[in-house]
Symmetry: C3
Subunit: 398 residues, 3 copies
Amino acid sequence: MDKIGISEKIKQLSTKKISNMYLSDFLLTWDKTMDELEAVFEVAEIFRDMRTNNISPKVFDSGLAISIFRDNSTRTRFSYASACNLLGLTVQDLDEGKSQIAHGETVRETANMVSFMADVIGIRDDMYLGAGHTYMKEVSESVYQGHLEGVLEQRPTLVNLQCDIDHPTQTMSDALHLINTFGGIEKLQGKKIAMTWAYSPSYGKPLSVPQGVIGLMTRLGMEVRFAHPKGYNVMSEVEEIAMRNCQESGGSFIKVDSMAEAFKDADIVYPKSWAPYKVMEERTELLKTQDHDGLKDLEKKCLENNKKFVDWECTEELMKSTHNGKGLYMHCLPADITGVSCEQGEVEASVFERYRVPQYMQASYKPYIIAAMIFLSKFKQPAERLMQVLDDNVMRWG
Amino acid sequence: MDKIGISEKIKQLSTKKISNMYLSDFLLTWDKTMDELEAVFEVAEIFRDMRTNNISPKVFDSGLAISIFRDNSTRTRFSYASACNLLGLTVQDLDEGKSQIAHGETVRETANMVSFMADVIGIRDDMYLGAGHTYMKEVSESVYQGHLEGVLEQRPTLVNLQCDIDHPTQTMSDALHLINTFGGIEKLQGKKIAMTWAYSPSYGKPLSVPQGVIGLMTRLGMEVRFAHPKGYNVMSEVEEIAMRNCQESGGSFIKVDSMAEAFKDADIVYPKSWAPYKVMEERTELLKTQDHDGLKDLEKKCLENNKKFVDWECTEELMKSTHNGKGLYMHCLPADITGVSCEQGEVEASVFERYRVPQYMQASYKPYIIAAMIFLSKFKQPAERLMQVLDDNVMRWG
Amino acid sequence: MDKIGISEKIKQLSTKKISNMYLSDFLLTWDKTMDELEAVFEVAEIFRDMRTNNISPKVFDSGLAISIFRDNSTRTRFSYASACNLLGLTVQDLDEGKSQIAHGETVRETANMVSFMADVIGIRDDMYLGAGHTYMKEVSESVYQGHLEGVLEQRPTLVNLQCDIDHPTQTMSDALHLINTFGGIEKLQGKKIAMTWAYSPSYGKPLSVPQGVIGLMTRLGMEVRFAHPKGYNVMSEVEEIAMRNCQESGGSFIKVDSMAEAFKDADIVYPKSWAPYKVMEERTELLKTQDHDGLKDLEKKCLENNKKFVDWECTEELMKSTHNGKGLYMHCLPADITGVSCEQGEVEASVFERYRVPQYMQASYKPYIIAAMIFLSKFKQPAERLMQVLDDNVMRWG
């Protein structure tokens, strides 16, 4: 893609109705209009093309990007750092301690105290069902109010780097990967994607990826087949959103009972482990009361229950049943690979390895997706600003 | 404030005698002349106005700002990071371990080894009475010597981010808040400020805020009324400084025995908990010998003693006794708020809440104060350099 | 050195055959040609001169520099941060946990996942004999492949910040210190350097410094005398490299049995403690199996054995036997100084103190050496690019 191509993409962006994105957070994909989602895809692509052409979109001369990770994170941390660095922002970590669920006054005060020169706040808070999204809303309202009150010179906008409900930077990257793999967003209409549970010898994996996937892919007109063992259901609110989405998009949301049913003739498969909703709910309560024995018991019970569904594995045999035997395998990584990272896991090693490069590509969109989310929330006239970046033609390096 | 206004402020700065600030540290406010203190206020305001006008004062193209925090710190860390980022410096943390008091050879060597490309060193070391300020002097002398010896290409200057004696970035922010609240530094002459102890169910809070406040506000011609329960006295050296200050400034330093006396007709009140000097001294010794049982005993004793003074609380009733019932409530934050952050604390919730926004404003000056301290120690002709920033008119973002 | 002088140095650089450095890692000095090593020295000097002249060689507008430290490190961390900052790169730490030896699939995946916008990866992994260098090769191959596969937009190059075999950023700084002390690289021909073991009351110090020194100094035509107590030998592969080097350089590699023999008439002495090869091998096995009792036993045994050689100390008496009694004392720091940092250590206090400033100078080259290594691996035409930096004449600060 050369500079003329980038310029064409920017012109396309300028036709979108996206004025509401200015100074707004990116918390849940279903809070955004289709134009807004498409704008994120387009700006992400523009940034990627600019980078390939060694053009620097450093639109901030200085400014802080706060990161709050309430869970260990290497990959998301680097994606966020990459996005901020690309735009000229410096990441500053706020380490509140992993086990602490802050509330009310403390959240408001801390949010303001750290934000005097912060343009963006990225938060990952996926450990507590019912808490992550709520916490993000509290932070958002705190800095909004702080700006109104004259405390904050600018208003920092939030990017959800994973909460208990949605994982928009992941699923938007997933979707952009599909758009590029299938040759355009319109090509996704009617495509069959199997979002299924898969066995893993681990415990407590968040629900935000399956929830985010069914909440976004139904939006794009896809036929989403959702399968999991009994008890491993996700938040019913998100399932309702998925169903509502289909009415507008022409997509469909179909719950089936096995991997086999979900995989049959699928264009894409996304088999992945997660904890049962009930377990996550129970876990949240135990964490709140610091009931360590209860937590150990729960983990043990849960791992034992998992073992009943050890046959939920993405095998070569199952892959053969996908569309022309060539369905696209996806994973948000890291995956539990049978015989590689564990004895028995989510996916057969040969399947994983065959799709290794596409998976890495899938992940490679994340820094650009995050940069696009930040950019669209900070610039009132994003297309004009991008055109100016193109004209300025500052080299990223060299 | 528009660009013409900023330009006027810069002209005012150029009349100050501040040549000694060049390449000097900012460790104690009482080591500085009035012209120097006023220069810090003025440059802080200029930076704030520049930011409001989206003008970037990024005077460093590259360079490191070392941070050494010997105590947990979120707010000061972010203020320092914000200031450095504004000026173009990159923060690099030096984590020496919290419990270690380094001495002599080690300090000299480490200070030099990390400073080959460091322009600034910010240190917070408030845990050990008799150690924090001493450590800063050691670091300062080490890098001064290192520069003389040709080891360091530049000479890093120090900013005291809180020591055992003073907390200049806090109190200078406090003072700038007062200057802006009352309409000018000359308006502070004769204003009554109550710096008083207040009850908190916590232990070991440093003395540097009350010491810093009485050491600075007496400088500005204020009537400082200082009150604390018996035994909760601060360093006598600082009280002497406060008294000496008054002779020059026309202010006064009055010790009273109760919150009520201190609050009577006060224009400003600053009720805040701290540990008794004797306890801090004992604690330092116990920390040095790693006497964990001794430390536990001391904490227990101290908390019990605190409880005798649970009525030292900033109540609505007391606030009514201040000037016109409208004295300005201040706190360096976080405060122990009765019924909010603890059962019984320093301040009634309604008082705190009524002054929440002013308190946030008070804190908002800190990044600018720190940036001003750094800037004035690194530029020989600060007014000229600021005028050039104004002329260059580089956008902070956009 | 003024701008004309810098320009002369750049012209000299352009005569070197260094095209293979482009996009290559810097892992072991003996993998590099003499022209390549000299280029590193020259670029380091050019960067130092530029800094003295306040010229900024910020050749990256944005970009990440990953750091992976598998061992605590303050000094190397700051040197790496300084180098990256000088060039315009932002450091992002990858904290994989100190005790974990990652393998195969995990290394490949993580290396790619963090490198989407990474230009450089600096790794320190010196704890496990047989693992550090191997790990670096795995990371290097992973990102090389990732770039070929289109996953990574650019190809990050590696800098070895210390492995189990070599410590090139240290020894190249040491060598540059010698070049400047003796007045040119050609002056090192035939100079006598004593690389000897010295007693220290510590355990498990890596072998990479002595190995790196004998592997590099023999290259520069020096007479390297290597001495250690029985059992404290280093990797035999590196000794063989040292011997081979001499055939080309005209230097010599002589093993002697005592400090006294090594020091006799030496121009330079480098007495330093390290663990016996056998112990490090055993330790690696025990660490792999997490045998904590075994590790404790090994440490105890090793410390006891060390004590037999307490007389391996760099004394004033021994220093008198060096060339004209004025041999240059070197240490990679921190040193174990008798009566200062320990009761009985590697060097007498008065010797250390007399050579304190030269040692600090020795260390001061490291940020420039690292910057040179990075620069030479990222720019196809380094001399042209440096000349452009000189012409652009951007101020580092002011």
